[in-house]
Amino acid sequence: MKYDVIIIGGDQRDAEFGLQYLKAGKTVCLIAEGGIIGSPQARAAYAKAGGIILMADKVEKVDVNPDGTVDSLRTANLGATPLKADLYILASGRFVAGGLKSDMTHVWEPIFGADVQFAEDPESWCKEDFFAPQPFESFGVKTDNDGHVLKEGKPIANLIAMGSIIAKQ
């Protein structure tokens, strides 16, 4: 299946963002692992404009071109069917949404293996005061100035990050 834009996300802002592409005459597919959270109106407007939503689906494999760009995605539900796009948008959120994963010492981005900014000392990830700003909230994928996701220090030309998955300075 080929689209102009594939968004890996799942909240209403992703649907709203996708709608802008649809209005510009592009074809859009939204892979929403956790369903679409938030406004049913945003979801309905996106669907009505011809946007495709893959509900409760999950990217399981990424095929990469020799130049490092994304060639296609494979999902749990679609199996062997490759999903292709000119532009991929990573908007999979932080820890609760599953965009970032962690163990006791590391934080990683599970789909593309993107470079992730996080503090080396796990002791510094949280503050005891529950209401204080939590340092782990600033962790996220590294991007260049145009929003391209970095992998091993190099930007991936057809993959941009959007939303809370982006590392905060």
Binding site: G34, G35, I37, A56, N77, T81, A97
Partner: protein, 409 residues
Amino acid sequence: MQETNISAANLECCLKCNLCTEVCPMYAVNPQYPGPKQAGPDGERYRIKDPEFFDSALKYCLNCKRCEVVCPSGVRVADIIAVNRLKYGKPSHPVRDKMLASTDFVGSMTVPVAGLANPMLGLGITKSVMDGVLGISEKRTFPKYATKKFVTWFKHHAPDQTQYSKQVHYFHGCYVNYNYPQLGKDFVKLMNAVGYGVKLLEKEKCCGVALIANGFGDQAKKQAQVNLDSINKAGTEVLTTSSTCTFTMRDEYAHVLGLDNAKQRDKILLTTKWLFDKIEAGEIKLAFKPDFKLKAVYHTACHMQKMGWQQYSIQLLKLIPGLDLTVLDQHCCGISGTFGFKKENYEFSKEIGAILFDDIKAANPEAVITDCETCKWQIEAFTNIQTLNPISILAEAIDYEKTQQLNAN
């Protein structure tokens, strides 16, 4: 740590967000149903301690899986409910439930006398008796039985199928075999047009979805094992034309019946998915009749949405030049297999489907297209608009000779 310390249905991951309750079609119409969160993960915490906490209102779950599709935490809400119904549920009307669930037995008995049975089943007096004695709603009309089983027709045509160098197996299901063999014939026509011969499985039993829904877990397991063994022996992919049979064999066998189907799962494919992938890979080409014209709407069956496969059917249908297709918003039709035939469920079934029926009527199509046979019964009953499987539409729309030529190699 967390990922290795959770139950099979992800019960512990429930965040109590209630998105499942928001999309539950039964909760919206039936105040007696506590909703998927309470019936599923919440109730499970109690039932683990003491089965006495089993609530008979779990019988209202349609197993439409909409709760699982929206769950942000991957909790298999409906699986928890289905497993508990099999463990602790009691049939509300044992004779009726057994009859509705025994699709192979009832189908085999009725087909030889279909000429008599069909008009009889349509009579007001028969309906009243079935309503009073069996608890099958008199407002329902039973789907017509075929006068000849699909497998009987296929036996006569099986020799023709060996001429094709490429082969696929077909799981026809009860509906094609006993009620609507035309869909099976359409499947064979389409496969032959694209250069594939058709074989049936060594043994095929009802997928068991009706047995699971009516609480006959042991019988469902026996039938499932027969199917899994046959699919294992089949040397090719096993194609289907029913979204629910497909979903049951791929997911429910493992998640609800606890059977190991890992070897067979990827071989079981809905025909539209198989066909779409082959066309995308350039292995199959279709040519269409220039004069085919139809205005239709596509209804995504709940199990189709759960599998995430509706795009295969929709994209294939969009290849047909003469088809004016509108894709409807996804709503449950309300029948849920045998559920809607039961007298006590008729009003719920009708009320749940109302949004869909209104959407269909507003679009005023010549036909509704859906991958599920029980959605077809429900839609036809409440809208009087003919409802067809995408395979039948494709079989009708293709230019058979041209398609054969395109795929001859």
